[in-house]
Amino acid sequence: MDSKWSRRTGSLLLLLVSNLLLCKSTASLPICPSGAVNCQVSLRDLFDRAVILSHHIHKLSSEMFNEFDKRYTQGRGFITKAINSCHTSSLSTPEDKEQAQQIHHEDLLNMVLRVLPSWNDPLYHLVTEVRGMQEAPDAILSKAIEIEEQNRRLLEGMEKIVGQVHPGIKENEIYSVWSGLPSLQMADEDARLFAFYNLLHCLRRDSHKIDNYLKLLKCRIIYDSNC
């Protein structure tokens, strides 16, 4: 799979450069500006790969959350204690099918590109803090590490896809800053556990969101809404 990425990188960079030179307008462009067959095929592979990654991330997040809940917070009613907002809630993303269908696929891709990097920092600190937990649970730690890595790869993949689908886009560096690190390091065990619980809950939710968006985009772009 990695060799695939590297192969794609070369061709995509070439396409990107050529497109940047050729296409100056930022109006909505057809999916493959160059119109080449290679572009279509490679985009399908890119999306397939991205969907696989996002599904994998969501699955791991679910498992991680369930394990954490079972081990540390089971039966303590954390979920009913006001579910805190996630740090990515400030990013306005479609919240149901109608909204998602109305939004343009480029904007949806941009939103994905905003949510994904917002998790770079939290995931990194999650790994560090889970490692530092007493009786660091191996299962949770390994999943956290895996998620962090896959998230980075997914981000790279999405950037490539965006480069192919919408090459003229300006790099917007919008993403949500996460400020939950202090709460993860609190001395109070209960508060700390609650912070973890919240973070994992948010991670599960956001990974599901990204997964859904990508599946929607894949069906729309590649299969023309006929999966």
Binding site: T80, T93, E95, D96, K97, C219, N226, C227
Partner: protein, 616 residues
Amino acid sequence: MDLWQLLLTVALAGSSDAFSGSEDSSGKPKFTKCRSPELETFSCHWTDGVHHGLKSPGSVQLFYIRRNTQEWTQEWKECPDYVSAGENSCYFNSSYTSIWIPYCIKLTNNGGMVDQKCFSVEEIVQPDPPIGLNWTLLNVSLTGIHADIQVRWEPPPNADVQKGWIVLEYELQYKEVNETQWKMMDPVLSTSVPVYSLRLDKEYEVRVRSRQRSSEKYGEFSEVLYVTLPQMSPFTCEEDFRFPWFLIIIFGIFGLTVMLFVFIFSKQQRIKMLILPPVPVPKIKGIDPDLLKEGKLEEVNTILAIQDSYKPEFYNDDSWVEFIELDIDDPDEKTEGSDTDRLLSNSHQKSLSVLAAKDDDSGRTSCYEPDILENDFNASDGCDGNSEVAQPQRLKGEADLLCLDQKNQNNSPYHDVSPAAQQPEVVLAEEDKPRPLLTGEIESTLQAAPSQLSNPNSLANIDFYAQVSDITPAGSVVLSPGQKNKAGNSQCDAHPEVVSLCQTNFIMDNAYFCEADAKKCIAVAPHVDVESRVEPSFNQEDIYITTESLTTTAERSGTAEDAPGSEMPVPDYTSIHLVQSPQGLVLNAATLPLPDKEFLSSCGYVSTDQLNKILP
């Protein structure tokens, strides 16, 4: 009539009691389940507390609240639809449903909260069952007993799979009609799946259920699909083929018994021997049991020592060599008490006599012919080496490399060494491969110097460790080449003159000698004179005497400096040994103060020492 009334009253009372009892215990409504079938709407259900007739129904209310961006909406809103999802339920249609947004709902009964629950919609997805199950026959097996079918279905209609909003995976279960246990297949993402190996004469039931991919909870099962396969052709087997274990066992036992009897009672001794060989009686070769009975342990020991089977044990040129330590404290004692003496001189005659003892089922009778000299110089194993090399070296039963044997009969045999020298490799069957020539050289040098100790005592005075390579039938101990060299050089009239004669031809630095060079020395008629040799060195309290020390002592013996070159024993042991005596010297071959000379020998072999010197 009275009886009936009484019974009725009792019945009513009982039932009312029952009712009142249940009412008291569980009157509170609770949420049972909240579910979203397609990630667009959801509904929540609750149990209705037992409504007593007196209380007004419908006082149960559901309120919800959801979080918008950063904060919860301020007030609880009531359920928009109490009807669509059935009784005791609340239905939220798509306009009220937001995914990835936390909801909290609470149930109130007459204003008082009875239950509360918080969730997100994507966590409660349980799709509807698939619809439109059907099956088609794929193929029938050749035996006509089994068949494969393909089952197809449609995804639930309300799930928007086409646009990719929700991705479903399905699980198929099937069983025979009269079975109770369903067989499950692995979840699949496609809407059709093959089912293999169904029996043609049975009817099957199939059902499918679905769940959101990466969720855990499945939805409800679809309707059961009945699969009736076409009847089998009448010519196929009725029963499964059952392996006739019973028959095989019976015949097997019978056959084995017959064979056993045939063998046991057959007159063919050979076959009988083959099948049921006689258990050999343990026996030590060559030992007369009477000796043991009489308690003559010394003879027994001697016999044991000279047995063929022990030879390989004595001489082993491999890394682990065994040393015989001779504890000699007093010259006089040495003479009498040393093992060497015992082995060599005392038991000498005895061994001969004993040798004549019974030696029945030894397989190597050829080894005990008195005219065959065991190969003293090398590590040949058993008789193999002997036969090849021994001919020229006939030692009339008194071969004694240690020269303990006063009878100088060894001179002549040694002249015949040249053929032996010519076959170093042959002789050295067990030698280290890299030094086939080495031992040949040793051989030649040794043989050039007929090892004959004029004074057994001198040998006995020696504190040394020697590797006993062999024990001749005569009872002499054959030491390993390194040792012999020393002994040969110093003790026996290992003719230094002869050696010195060859010196010029030798390359001094060589630790190895070529055959040609050796022959030159051998060709000279050896005249062995006992010379005062490196007696002092042997009088040392060395616990070990190595070839290196031999070399040094040989050097100090006053022979020409060249002598050591020729006499220099090829080191068998290149490692440094422990020396307990201050006078002991253990040197590596490389450290020997050999004169720098051309290292090219006539045969082109270069020793490692020279190589080390040459190379920086």
